[in-house]
């Protein structure tokens, strides 16, 4: 067994690297399913990360920190909603604006806190089970957010495909005019979907600043918000595949970190490029099949809804 001692720590780090992507990806999935493309994930994650971090530092209460992050993300998403849903602004441009604004805002909020250390989010300890060899530390000794991320995937999956509300949400995303004429409140539903996406992005960001690297640094998301957006295309808008994709990207991130630590004879910068290059390659491979994308993508994504009457 001793030759395989490295497996457990590697899997553990993959989980921490994947969790922010799971949150951001599953949130944005719901947003996109309602027919809205919010490119501001990166900005919402950053504001979530800094809000969660400051709350944790000041109060020491991590539950409150996660709530603050979710709230901050949702507020950012609400701003996006006001612009794109109420004022009918272009979603692509507004999403970019949200990211640019989030980068600046988070830097401003966090400037006094750069480099201040906090202790990482507690790992749960499930009596008896956590001590099991191999599966114990992996399955039964994670922090609460990891379990929450899995729960969210299950809940979103159930909600979208097994509940009436989920059906309505998908209908709004596929044909807002039809949904509107049956009498569903298209704009209100989209507001909720967008804000859910924001809250999840906020938590995803907070996972970075509370657990992955328990500190705040400007731009600490390093493109993960964009990777989360790519994940949804990769997953062809299916919740389960978002999870798979997030762990794949988490795996690549960790692989390159371990390769750097192992002193592999490749410059660290080349290894750091891997997650970004992998994103591009995956996008290309998935998008190649245009009909498959068209079949799964919400038909109204990115389109502005203005009730004619």
């Amino acid at each position: 067994m001793s030759g395989f001692d490295w497996i457990v720590p590697v899997i553990l780090t993959v989980i921490t690297a994947a969790t922010p992507l799971v949150f951001a990806g599953i949130g944005e999935l719901v947003t996109e399913k309602s027919g809205v493309l919010n490119l501001g994930v990166e900005g919402m994650m950053l504001v979530g990360a800094v809000s969660g971090f400051i709350t944790a530092l000041v109060t020491g209460n991590y539950f409150l920190a996660v709530c603050a992050a979710a709230f901050a993300g949702a507020v950012m998403a609400f701003l996006f909603g006001v612009l794109t849903l109420s004022l009918m602004a272009n979603q692509v441009a507004t999403g970019l604006a949200l990211t640019l604004f989030g980068v600046g805002l988070s830097a401003l909020m966090g400037q006094e806190f750069v480099g201040e250390p906090i202790s990482a989010l507690n790992k749960l300890n499930i009596a008896g089970l956590s001590d099991l060899p191999f599966i114990g530390p992996i399955l039964f000794a994670q922090d609460a957010l990891v379990y929450l991320s899995f729960a969210m995937v299950a809940i979103v999956s159930w909600f979208l495909y097994k509940t009436k509300a989920g059906l309505v949400l998908r209908a709004v995303g596929d044909s807002h005019d039809a949904a509107h004429s049956i009498g569903y409140p298209v704009i209100a539903i989209r507001y909720l979907a967008v804000m859910f996406g924001g809250a999840m992005s906020g938590i995803g960001g907070a996972y970075l600043s509370l657990a992955y690297t328990p500190m705040w640094a400007e731009n600490m998301t390093a493109g993960r918000g964009w990777i989360a957006l790519a994940l949804i295309v990769f997953a062809t808008w299916k919740p389960g595949l978002v999870l798979v994709g997030a762990y794949m990207f988490g795996g690549i991130t960790i692989l390159q970190l371990h390769a750097q630590a192992a002193g592999l004879n490749v410059p660290s910068q080349v290894l750091s490029m891997l997650p970004y290059l992998a994103t591009i390659i995956v996008l290309v491979l998935i998008s190649k099949d245009e009909s498959r994308i068209r079949k799964h993508a919400p038909a109204c994504i990115g389109k502005i809804f203005h009730p004619a009457a």
Binding site: M88, A89, L100, G102, G223
Partner: protein
């Protein structure tokens, strides 16, 4: 609802010009609240941001130094945005332009020829264009979203720059700092006004403004870009190739961003360093929109955003405000602009009739 949003029969021309101004006024009003909450006298802060940086001739020239890369990148991006090609990787294209352009000097530092700088500029344009060709190829050949691919390539380009500057490009006589040797005179951008840092790149930016203006207003490709952007189907019936437009707009933006990058390293920076741009490529997105995707508008928007960079520095020195205020400010401008744009195509009506009947 008391207010009702109604679609205008035709878009409002006056609003096209008015909304950037309304957006700026709203940004200034909001930033007064922001400064107040940061414990700074808002009047003083606004003075430091917008007036103080223009005090002297030197500082005035700095405005053009900062505006040059913004305008170059934004002109390129705007042409793509017109055609609904969402290239957001100008920062990466700028970086590649700087790398490829300066490689000539790095590998042939002894060259003392009047052709060195022109060759570097051309190489810079090619480097940026090559980097933008990657999303163009993936988009046209594999239908891969150019927003995501161009953005991912920003990170790759920045890492490549870091790789070079921490490795083979490091100045052997530079005490191990991650910097290249400083550029020789023949690799430097000529200074336009002595005593300032205003350089030849500014002329290139002006040239780009006029060139793009003529291209969009007077040439077939400009017409095709506008048609594909506003009515893709009509463009299709007219036989315009969407793929050609994707290629053209990306290569065009890449080349201009590449020139912007090169003119930074052989202009104000004068050597290759790990961080060439404080996010000019991203701010250029704001500049493009604030300038209404029109070359002349972009020129003024570029100067204005340049002012926020200078103002941010002045406010940091004189008031101790964090530099990040600049980013918040820039983000807010774009936010308010997009919000106000509703007025171009829609109008607000008081919903009085409905109230009376109920």
């Amino acid at each position: 609802m008391l207010l009702k949003i109604e679609k205008r029969a035709e878009y409002s021309k006056s609003m096209v010009y008015l909304t950037p101004i309304i957006a700026l006024v709203l940004t200034v009003l909001t930033s007064i609240v922001l400064f107040e909450s940061l414990g700074v006298n808002p009047i003083e802060a606004l003075y430091q941001f917008f007036i103080a940086p223009l005090d002297t001739q030197y500082e005035f020239s700095e405005l053009f130094v900062k505006a040059t890369p913004l305008i170059l990148c934004a002109i390129g991006l705007s042409v793509g945005f017109r055609a609904n090609v969402w290239n957001i990787g100008a920062e990466g294209q700028l970086t590649m332009g700087a790398i490829v352009g300066s490689s000539l000097f790095i590998y042939f530092p002894e060259t003392d020829s009047v052709f060195l700088l022109p060759a570097m500029i051309i190489m810079g344009a090619l480097g940026g264009a090559a980097w933008a060709a990657i999303p163009a190829f993936f988009k046209t050949r594999f239908n891969a979203n150019e927003i995501l691919t161009s953005l991912m390539l920003v990170y790759v380009a920045l890492l490549l720059l870091s790789l070079l500057i921490h490795g083979p490009w490091r100045d052997p006589a530079g005490f191990n700092f991650p910097e290249s040797q400083t550029f020789s005179e023949s690799a430097d951008m000529p200074i336009l006004i002595s005593g300032t840092r205003m350089h030849f790149g500014t002329l290139l930016a002006l040239f780009a403004v006029f060139g793009a203006w003529i291209m969009m207003a007077r040439t077939l490709i400009g017409f095709q870009i506008k048609v594909i952007g506003e009515a893709p189907r009509a463009g299709g019936y007219a036989g315009f190739s969407q793929k050609k437009i994707i290629w053209f707009t990306l290569l065009f933006a890449g080349a201009l961003s590449g020139i912007a990058g090169l003119s930074e390293v052989s202009g104000p920076i004068d050597q290759v360093v790990p961080s060439i741009s404080p996010g000019y490529g991203f701010t250029a997105i704001i500049v493009a929109f604030l300038g209404r995707l029109h070359p002349v508008g972009i020129f003024f928007a570029g100067l204005l955003m340049a002012l926020t960079y200078l103002g941010g520095e002045t406010a940091q020195i004189n008031l101790g405000l964090p530099v990040a205020v600049t980013g918040v400010f820039q983000g807010m401008v774009l936010f308010f602009l997009l919000a106000c744009d509703v007025l171009v195509h829609y109008r607000f009506r008081l919903n009085i009739a409905r109230k009376a009947t109920s």
